[in-house]
Amino acid sequence: MGDYIVLAISCIFVNNILLAQFLGNCPFLGTSKKMETATGMAMAVVFVLVLAGIITWLTNAFILKPFNLEYLRTISFILVIASLVQFVEMFLKKSMPALYAGLGIFLPLITTNCAVMGACLINIKEDYTFIETVISSFSYAVGFGLALILFAGVRERILLARVPKPLQDTSIGLITAGIIAMAFFAFKGMV
């Protein structure tokens, strides 16, 4: 049990997918302008990343490994994740319109998200068991959400601050992201 908690903490804080691994920077900048959008995106990533972690782990264990096709891992994961997200989108639209209304618009964004892909590949690389995969996928997504929501909060404030003209918008966003990433370095020694 203790190991799982350590794994979760390391995925959320120490190896934060956005601020320590620098994956998924496009939605990090794109959907962090408004707190509302950021929260929605965070929820959607949690939802998709857990599903994607599970399905890619299954694909790897039951298809790629037995047939010695591990060199096709990346390309087959792309296909599997993209199909999964599309499928989930259609499923939600029909069966759970309420959930779709909350997450739906973010799903196509995640189809090509490197954070999702990256987390899935890390799971395989680290030889996680199924349970560990579920926990790490969930925690990576939580870490993503945490960073995104923190960043959105900061950006909403930046809108009101006096930013020199040349540094406005994305450039001040990137600088801020860098400073937040440095702050996250403080977690390095934790686990």
Partner: protein, 695 residues
């Protein structure tokens, strides 16, 4: 190598077939335009537009929440193609414009005092209260800082000023303003905005049936922005020339200055700017949204119909007006005499409305020339029934249909038609005439008669002057013009001479008894007090109701089901939506309320236009949220106001009596620019600059 290819092919086929099956099973209808627009956008999913990716942006465009030019990564051409999908011209779509609703002349005296804080949000957090009326705009410019398009700056009086050409309607300012002062609305949201019980509304705005933003246009007059004032009025009332002349201005009765001084002469100010526009010779431009392709039939070209058509056209629906008379205007053309509202003024006003591209058919009557079924068959999506109240109530006494007896509306409209060149409608005028009734129609009849050279004109009313429902100014004018008033008289029968022509009216004298349901004291007849006045002409004007004879038309099954009240008015499901029991039929004006004010009909027309717009968009037709309908905000109605220096109210210039009773030339004249400016300074700008009752 081979196995890798086979594997990928297999995986691809598996994924593809799962998805294609899923798309069949989980198919949900979606507006095809969403897909089309998404295909046109850059596909970068960058979120630069503020939406989560391109499909969310496409969805927002289709739902009208964003503009076709929203994509920051695409060029002009994309915006044009997106607009084409939406059936709009890029750029001419309904612009969402940020507006500063706080337009007081002076900042509240206990406004923010600088204590080191640089943002409105921080200030309002420190000092609490979302809408604390004692502090208006904080003026620290959060809206200015948040605007990425540099469209807002703090003007010289410390309020934000929006440059409409730069504003794209991103709503950033609206969100950041802690006082809800900056609002971003599309044209239809603005045109169909109704008073809300949480708005800072001056008593006059609360009371005006058309809900005109009175303090704003008075302020614009004060700043000599007469065109701006016209536009402010026109956002709520397209018939400002007519209203400026005939409105009994309920707004002035509740004016706060009126508590300590004479009320501000609001209606004369309206008339002043309306005449300013007319005298300039050019209609100010009025913007309309691009066509939505929906067709609405407006039946009745009176104030309600014109107002409804005007607002529907402005939000882009195609409107056709059907009217039974030769010219549009309804009761304000045929019921209001020339000396109160000259026909050329009305002509000019209606021309301005029709110029927006509203079609009209004259001389066609519902039930005889066309039916609701025929309108539906020719592709109209909704119908507005603004047929007015044209049927005079009968007095139900002996001899009221003798030669020389007329009814009020019938007399006025026939005379009006005659005056406008229809010689068939000439009425033989007598020498001694009486008009029965105490309302505005009765007064219009007597004042018309005296102008026609009738020697003795009586008005016979069964109560007293205090109970007369007519406007006080009208009663006074009639008195000045030499009308004889016979009060407390109940007509018994009309006496005939040998030829079957009227020779007199017998009435019973009355005295006032207990108050009745309407709060007026009920007249009680005095036995044996029969009196006769000699007459050779009699007009009964005791009230009127809608003529709903079209309901009996057997061939129009749809209309047979239309619910009407026992006063023959058209029954609406909710007086705030004005939708009838037949969902695509809406009503308004006298047809819905019974005979009432012009301004009431104009407000009703706009109300119905809002409902029709909702109906055409496929949305639920519900009353506006938190609406303040025919009510006042109790805490805004004061009993006294301190610190007011009485300033004389602008006097209305009018023609001298002996001159005006000889002709139908307009009796009331417009005030001068100088006195308009002076009058505008009498406005206390209630509920705009914050008035502290205790200070």
């Amino acid at each position: 190598m081979t196995e890798a290819i086979l594997f990928m092919l297999g995986l691809g086929a598996a994924c593809g077939s799962v998805l294609s099956i899923a798309s069949k099973i989980f198919y949900v209808y979606e507006d095809p335009r969403i897909g089309e627009i998404e295909g046109l956008l850059a596909g970068a999913n960058c979120g630069g537009c503020g939406f989560a990716g391109c499909s969310a942006a496409a969805d927002a465009v289709v739902n009208g929440m964003a503009q076709p030019n929203l994509c920051v990564a695409a060029d002009e051409e994309t915006a044009v193609s997106v607009a084409a999908v939406m059936g709009l011209n890029a750029g001419s779509s309904e612009a969402v414009i940020s507006r500063n609703s706080c337009t007081g002349g002076n900042r509240a005296s206990d406004k923010f005092i600088y204590s080191g804080v640089l943002s409105c949000n921080a200030m309002s957090n420190f000092y609490g209260g979302k809408r604390n009326c004692t502090i208006g705009c904080l003026g620290l410019g959060d809206c200015v800082k948040v605007c990425t398009f540099n469209a807002i700056e703090i003007g010289h009086d410390g309020y934000p000023v929006v440059d409409e050409s730069l504003c794209v309607g991103c709503k950033a300012c609206e969100k950041v303003c802690p006082k809800s002062i900056i609002t971003v609305k599309t044209m239809s949201e603005r045109l169909f905005d109704f008073n809300r019980n949480d708005d800072p509304l001056a008593p006059c705005v609360q009371t005006c049936p058309a809900q005109i933003n009175i303090p704003q246009y008075i302020k614009q007059i004060r700043n000599r922005d007469f065109e701006g004032a016209v536009n402010t009025i026109r956002e709520r009332n397209p018939l400002l020339l007519a209203c400026g002349r005939v409105c009994p201005h309920p707004c002035e009765d509740i004016c706060r200055r009126g508590l300590e001084d004479e009320a501000v002469s609001i209606n004369q100010l309206k008339r002043f700017v309306a005449d300013y526009e007319m005298n300039s010779g050019k209609h100010l431009p009025v913007t309309c949204a691009p066509s939505t392709g929906k067709k609405v039939a407006v039946i009745g070209g009176g104030p309600a119909g014109l107002s409804c058509a005007f607002f529907l056209k402005r939000v882009g629906h195609d409107v056709t007006i059907f009217d039974m008379t030769p010219k549009l205007g309804g009761m304000i053309r045929y019921g209001i005499p020339e000396y109160r509202l000259p026909k050329e003024v009305l002509e000019w006003e209606i021309e301005g409305i029709l110029n927006l591209g509203i079609e009209h058919h004259a001389n066609v009557k519902l039930g005889t020339d066309f039916t609701i079924s025929s309108l539906v068959a020719s592709g109209y999506d909704a119908v507005f029934l603004g047929i007015g109240a044209w049927k005079d109530y009968a007095l139900k006494i002996e001899g009221e249909d003798l030669k020389g007896c007329f009814t009020g509306i019938n007399f006025l409209s026939n005379f009006s038609l005659f005056q406008q060149g229809d010689s068939d409608k000439e009425i033989k005028i007598g020498k001694k005439c009486a008009v029965i009734g105490g309302g505005n129609t009765a007064i219009d009849c007597v004042r018309t008669l005296i102008r026609l050279g009738v020697e003795e004109v009586y008005i016979v009313y069964r109560r007293t002057r205090n109970e007369m429902p007519a406007n006080m100014v009208e009663i006074e004018a009639a008195e000045h013009e030499g009308i004889k008033f016979v009060f407390l008289a109940a007509p018994e029968k009309v006496l005939a001479d040998e030829d079957g022509h009227i020779k007199g009216l017998e009435y019973l004298k009355m005295e006032l008894g207990e108050p009745d349901a309407s709060g007026r004291r009920r007249p009680v007849p005095i036995k044996g007090s029969e009196t006769v006045i000699e007459l050779d002409m009699l007009i009964t004007a005791i009230g009127q109701g809608p003529d709903v004879s079209f309901k009996n038309n057997k061939s129009d099954i749809r209309l047979n089901q239309l619910a009407t009240t026992r006063w023959d008015t058209i029954d609406s499901v909710d007086p705030e939506t004005l939708q009838s029991n037949i969902p695509y039929i809406f009503t308004g004006g006298d047809a819905a309320t019974g005979a009432s004010l012009v301004v009431e009909a104009i407000g009703g027309g706009r109300r119905a236009a809002r409902s029709i717009d909702l109906y055409l968009k496929g949305e639920k037709v519900t009353p506006p949220e938190n609406s303040l309908f025919e009510k006042n905000i109790p805490e805004s109605i004061f009993e006294s106001v301190s610190g007011i220096n009485p300033i004389e109210r602008a006097k209305m210039p009018e023609l001298p009596v002996d001159e005006r009773i000889k002709s139908f030339v307009e009796a009331d004249l417009v005030i001068s620019e100088e006195s308009a400016l002076k009058e505008s300074n009498r406005c206390l700008t209630c509920c705009v600059t914050c008035y502290n009752k205790d200070s």
